[in-house]
């Protein structure tokens, strides 16, 4: 009996209506918030969260929780006894289409990745830098033919977090995870606890920019438990270039703080980058990248233009931007891997077909009603 009541509640079409209204509210506030906190922060706060704090202290449901409720509600509504009738066949199809759309959204939210592949002319790349997520990397340079990377993901890099890099290895203690920093020379000698970069420089927090990609994130961490005098406080920032070298497990390491890197199972070589400017201006009219897509050592020449992306093995490479250097140009390809890419198209078609069927089924009844 209790289960029946529970089912009645979660099947209720009222839940669908309320969640839809709440989504409209979220879209409204999320769009306005973009101006002050930037697109990414707004998306994270209103749409990619289960809860967010309104006015800093009132917890309200975020987009992810609402869409979860909507999915459960829509799915459970398929179990209504009176739905499964021939005259409601169109409605069933519309429900299935809507459900597919929501599932596609879930797949995109949880399993898609996006970032930039940055390649200079004549160079080759096989990885994508995430727009937002960072990673702490310990690079082992000891081996003759290879480099070993030990990568710590962003969720472990929260302030106060501790972890061991290797079994029985030294402990890493995250002292500070800074969203945006400025780097300044030290004006007085550093305390002996500061090592590497921090012996000469200080990392000072700076007001984060609304657009996450314009920030220079930094990490200050402590290594403790080494036996060779490496214990101390180290600092890293994005694009540092000046590496801190040290020995761990009697092997040579250096550390890096970089955008989360995803390797793709092929390589892209930039042969030539071309841009056409609007006459008399510095505004780019169009730009394109002539690339070699190299897979299993076999190159395939192709052109990536604005609105004409390269699609390969589930990845899509869009011509997004470029960097103009003195000697050569560098292309920036926005790279997306989205498992739910086709879901909106398929579900839209299904819902359209469902609405059409429903209209055709209802039409005789409507005509009859009108004539009487």
């Amino acid at each position: 009996m209790k289960i029946d009541n529970f089912l009645k509640i979660i099947m209720s079409p009222k839940i669908f209506s309320y969640t839809l209204i709440w989504l409209i509210v979220l879209v409204f506030f999320g769009t306005i918030a973009q101006k002050n906190i930037g697109l990414y922060a707004s998306q994270m706060k209103y749409f990619s969260s289960f809860f967010f704090l309104f006015l800093g202290f009132i917890p309200l449901p975020g987009g992810r929780l609402i869409l979860l409720f909507m999915t459960i509600n829509l799915f459970s509504s398929l179990f209504k006894r009176n739905l499964w009738q021939l005259k409601k066949f169109g409605i069933i199809i519309v429900h299935l289409g809507g459900l597919l759309l929501l599932l596609g959204g879930g797949l995109t939210a949880y399993f898609s990745s996006e970032g930039n592949m940055i390649i200079a002319e004549g160079e080759t790349s096989n990885y994508v830098d995430d727009y937002h997520d960072m990673e702490l990397v310990f690079v082992n340079n000891t081996f003759k033919d290879s480099i070993e990377y030990t990568v710590v993901d962003e969720p472990l890099l929260k302030e106060g977090n501790r972890f061991n890099l290797f079994e029985n290895g030294p402990e890493i203690y995250i002292l500070s995870n800074i969203k945006n920093v400025r780097i300044e020379n030290r004006i007085s000698p550093a305390d002996s606890i500061y090592k590497g970069l921090l012996e000469k420089f200080v990392l000072l927090p700076k007001k984060p920019e609304p657009e996450n990609t314009q920030n220079r994130p930094a990490l200050i961490y402590k290594i403790q438990g080494t036996s060779n005098g490496l214990d101390g406080i180290y600092g890293l920032f994005l694009g540092q270039g000046l590496n801190d070298y040290f020995q761990l497990k009697e092997q040579d390491f250096h550390s890096e703080y970089r955008r989360k890197r995803t390797y793709v199972p092929f390589e892209i070589e930039l042969i030539d980058f071309e841009k056409i400017m609007h006459p008399g201006t510095n505004v780019a009219k169009s730009f394109s990248s002539e690339v070699n897509l190299i897979e299993d050592g076999i190159p395939r020449r192709t052109l990536i233009k604005m609105n004409e992306p390269l699609r390969h093995k589930g990845y899509t490479f869009f011509q997004a931007s470029f960097i103009e250097n003195l000697d050569k140009e560098t292309t920036v390809l926005a790279t997306v891997k989205n498992y739910g890419r086709l879901f909106p198209y398929i579900s839209s078609i299904i819902m359209s077909v469902g609405l059409l069927i429903h209209l055709l089924i209802s039409l005789p009844k409507m005509i009859k009603k009108k004539s009487t």
Partner: protein, 191 residues
Amino acid sequence: MNWPYYLNKYLYLFLFLLFAIFSCGKDNHIRTYRLPKKAIEISASATSNSDDEFKLKWKKPESWIEFDGHSMRLASFYVPYSKGKGELSITNFVGMSGSIEANINRWRGQISLAPESMENIMAVSKSYNGRMGNFLFFELANKNINQAILASIFQLENSTVFIKLLIDQSGLDEVTLEYLRFSQSLSKYEE
């Protein structure tokens, strides 16, 4: 066409699957992987220079401009900053080419600083590890005449490589990090 009510068990299965998916941890661990060195070298490739047998490669900041300097130099760069530019040189000498003390005091003299003892010189030096091995870094500055020198000394097996940047003292804050990155990127060019 009534939906068989006993199939409601699938609803619970669906709810469980949703719960499982949303419970999935996303990238919150430590992982290790290896990549061949060759791929890394390509992405970090830089310029080589000099017609001599001893060749170096490096990764320089975009803003630095190479110019033809003294014939004794392996390379010369203008190092711009907001109020002017410094001049950087790379030289290589067989053996030590004078002691560290002699070289540093010679450079100190160039910016009107009094000579220092070896002990004091080493006390203010910093050791860094670069692609070509350990090097000693020195920062010499004379506020009175607004002149400074940043220097790196690499003591290799058969020779010594010197990097020296002569710049206004007021420009040090802007260029020191780039200078150290450059020093660290220096490595032997092997064809």
